[in-house]
C-alpha cells in the first residue's frame, strides 16, 4: 500500500503529469492561465471534479456494464461540473464570469475522462481518490506556474485580483515586481501560452535528462562506435 501511494503521487505530480507529459486538458490550460487568480480558480475546480469523479466512477465500477461505461463517465463528470459551476456562481461570482465558458468545458477535459477510464474504473475507492488528487494537484501546479509566469511577463505583477477568490482579505496581496512595467501583451495572448507551456515542458525534460545522466554515469556506454565518419565541420 505504501509503495502504491508513493507511486500514485509520483505519477501524478511528475512522471505522468497530465499537463506536462500526457498533454491533456490543454484547452483550459492554455486559455485561462493569463493570471494567477484565473489559474488558481480553474485549478481548484478541476481538482475537485477530478477527485469526485474518480470516487464515483470507482464506486460504480462493478455496477456499470463496460459497454456503456463511457456515457456513464461523461454523465458523472457533467453532473459534477454542474455542481462546481453552481458553487462558483454562489461563492465567486466575478471569477465565474471571468472564466466563462471554460468552467462548463471542464466536462470535456480529457485528463478527467482519462483518469476515469485508465485508473478509477479498475481500482477500489481509496487509491482512485488518491490518484485523482495526485493528478489534480499535478495539473494545478502547472496551471498556477504557467499563470504566474504569464502574469509576471505580461503585466509585471503577481497575485493581482486575488480577492475574486478569497474575499476582501486578499485584496492587497498583489505584488508589483517590476515598477513602471510597460506590459508584454504577447505573454497574455494565446501564443504566449503555447510558448510558455513549451518552455515548461522543455524544463521538465531537461531535469529528467539531468537525473537520468546522473544515474547512468557509472555505466559504460555500450553502443558500438561508428567506424567511418564523413569528416567533421570545424
Amino acid at each position: 500500500m505504501q509503495a502504491e501511494t508513493t507511486n500514485l503521487l509520483q505519477q501524478g505530480l511528475w512522471k505522468n503529469n497530465p499537463a506536462l507529459v500526457q498533454l491533456l486538458g490543454l484547452c483550459p490550460l492554455l486559455a485561462v492561465t493569463n493570471s494567477v487568480v484565473n489559474s488558481l480558480g480553474l485549478a481548484i475546480v478541476t481538482t475537485l471534479v477530478l477527485v469526485a469523479s474518480n470516487a464515483l466512477v470507482s464506486l460504480t465500477r462493478n455496477k456499470v456494464n463496460s459497454d456503456v461505461r463511457l456515457p456513464t463517465f461523461v454523465m458523472i463528470i457533467a453532473a459534477l461540473v454542474t455542481v462546481a459551476e453552481l458553487l462558483m456562481q454562489a461563492f465567486t461570482y466575478e471569477l465565474y464570469l471571468i472564466l466563462g465558458i471554460f468552467i462548463p468545458l471542464i466536462v470535456t477535459n480529457c485528463a478527467i475522462l482519462g483518469r476515469a477510464e485508465a485508473y478509477a474504473c479498475k481500482n477500489p475507492l481509496a487509491p482512485s481518490v488518491l490518484d485523482g488528487l495526485a493528478m489534480g494537484v499535478g495539473f494545478s501546479l502547472v496551471l498556477i506556474l504557467l499563470g504566474g509566469l504569464r502574469e509576471l511577463l505580461g503585466q509585471g505583477t503577481l497575485f493581482a485580483d486575488m480577492h475574486l477568490l478569497f474575499g476582501d482579505t486578499a485584496a492587497n496581496w498583489k505584488l508589483t515586481l517590476i515598477d513602471d512595467y510597460r506590459g508584454f501583451l504577447f505573454a497574455i495572448l494565446p501564443p504566449g501560452a503555447f510558448i510558455g507551456m513549451g518552455l515548461l515542458i522543455a524544463l521538465k525534460n531537461l531535469i529528467d535528462d539531468y537525473q537520468d545522466k546522473r544515474q547512468t554515469t557509472n555505466h559504460e556506454a555500450t553502443e558500438s562506435r561508428r567506424v567511418r565518419v564523413t569528416g567533421t565541420i570545424t
Binding site: R182, F186, R228
Partner: protein, 332 residues
C-alpha cells in the same frame, strides 16, 4: 591529408557565406536611403540588432554544442538581424530591438534546429511577435521632414527621452486606409506631409529594388518569387484602384509604399522558408502578394508583410508537395 573523406570530394566551400555577404551588400543602398530620409534610428537598430543577434547565436550554439566559428561565419544571423532591423520603425528603443532579435534568433531559428530547419522566416517572426506585443511602439514612424539628430536619436534609443510627438506621423498606407469620409485625393491635398512621406518611401523602395535587381543579376535567387509577388500585388491593386480610385490606394502606391520592395527581394527570397521548385515559388510569391493586399486593405495593421510571409511560410511544404517537378518520362 591522411584523413579519409567520403564523397562528394569536390565542394565549393562555405557557399552560405558568399550568399549572405552579397545580400548584405545589396541591402546597403536601401539602408542608406532609409537613414537619409528617416534619421539615424535605423542605423542604431541595425547595429544593436546585429550585436545582440551575434551574442545570442553564439550562446545558443555553445548550449547546443555546435561549432561556433562555422555557424557564426556563415553570416546568416547577420542577414536576419539586418532585415529585422530594417523592417522595425526608426523610433524603436533598444528593448524593442532586443525582444525582436531574441525571438527571431532563439525561437524562430534555433528552437526549430537552426539554419536550414526553420519553417518561418526568423526576421518576420521576430517582427510579428513585436507587432502583436507592442502595437503602439511598432507603428511609430518618423516623418521625413523632422527627425532626431544623432544625439537626440541616441537619447531616444537608449532612454526614450525626447519629444516624439513632434517628429512622428501616420504612414501613407495608414493614412489611405483611415480616410474618415474623404477620398484619397482630398486626403492627400489636405495633408502635404503625407505626399512628402510617400516620396521618401518611393526612394527607399527604389533603392531596395536596385539592390534586389543586382542580386537577381548575380543569380543569388531566381525571379519567380519576387516577380509573382509584385505581379499579384500589382494586379490586385490595379483592379481595385482602377475600379474605385477614391477609396483604394493605387497600383504604384502599393508597389512603392511600405516594405514592398524590401520584402519582395530580401525577405520572400529566403531559400530556407520559401517553396523550392520554380512553379512552387510562383505560387508562393503570388500568395504573398494577394495576402499583403488583403491585409493592407481590410486588415487592422498598417503594413502586412510579416503576417503574409509567415502564412505563406506555413503553406510552403504543401505547395512543395503539389508543385514537384516531373522527371522526364514519368507518368502523371
Amino acid at each position: 591529408m591522411m584523413t579519409l573523406f567520403s564523397s562528394p570530394h569536390l565542394h565549393g566551400g562555405n557557399r552560405s557565406q558568399r550568399l549572405m555577404l552579397l545580400v548584405l551588400a545589396a541591402a546597403m543602398p536601401g539602408l542608406l536611403t532609409q537613414i537619409y530620409w528617416f534619421g539615424y534610428g535605423t542605423l542604431f537598430n541595425v547595429v544593436w540588432a546585429i550585436l545582440v543577434g551575434l551574442l545570442l547565436e553564439a550562446g545558443v550554439l555553445a548550449l547546443r554544442k555546435r561549432p561556433l566559428g562555422f555557424f557564426l561565419k556563415d553570416g546568416s544571423v547577420i542577414v536576419t538581424c539586418l532585415l529585422l532591423a530594417l523592417a522595425l520603425p526608426p523610433l524603436a528603443p533598444w528593448w524593442l530591438v532586443t525582444v525582436a532579435t531574441l525571438f527571431a534568433v532563439l525561437f524562430a531559428k534555433h528552437l526549430y534546429g537552426g539554419l536550414g530547419n526553420n519553417p518561418f522566416n526568423p526576421a518576420m517572426a521576430g517582427y510579428a511577435i513585436c507587432l502583436i506585443a507592442f502595437p503602439a511602439s511598432m507603428t511609430v514612424w518618423t516623418s521625413p521632414e523632422h527627425y532626431f539628430d544623432l544625439a537626440g536619436q541616441w537619447q531616444w534609443f537608449w532612454q526614450e527621452r525626447g519629444n516624439i510627438d513632434a517628429i512622428t506621423q501616420a504612414t501613407p498606407l495608414d493614412a489611405m486606409k483611415h480616410l474618415q469620409g474623404k477620398t484619397i485625393n482630398e486626403m492627400l491635398s489636405a495633408n502635404p506631409s503625407v505626399v512628402h512621406y510617400a516620396d521618401a518611401m518611393f526612394w527607399v523602395n527604389t533603392a531596395y529594388l536596385a539592390g534586389g535587381l543586382a542580386l537577381l543579376a548575380l543569380k543569388v535567387f531566381t525571379w519567380h518569387a519576387p516577380g509573382a509577388m509584385l505581379a499579384s500585388l500589382g494586379i490586385m491593386a490595379g483592379l481595385f484602384g482602377a475600379g474605385e480610385p477614391d477609396l483604394y490606394a493605387s497600383f504604384s502606391d502599393h508597389l512603392f509604399l511600405g516594405a514592398t520592395m524590401l520584402a519582395a527581394f530580401f525577405i520572400i527570397t529566403d531559400p530556407v522558408t520559401s517553396a523550392t521548385s520554380r512553379k512552387g515559388k510562383l505560387i508562393f510569391g503570388a500568395g504573398i502578394g494577394i495576402l499583403v493586399y488583403v491585409i493592407r486593405t481590410w486588415g487592422s495593421y498598417p503594413d502586412a508583410f510579416a503576417f503574409a510571409v509567415l502564412l505563406m511560410n506555413l503553406s510552403a511544404p504543401l505547395i512543395d508537395q503539389y508543385s514537384k517537378p516531373k522527371a522526364y518520362g514519368q507518368q502523371p
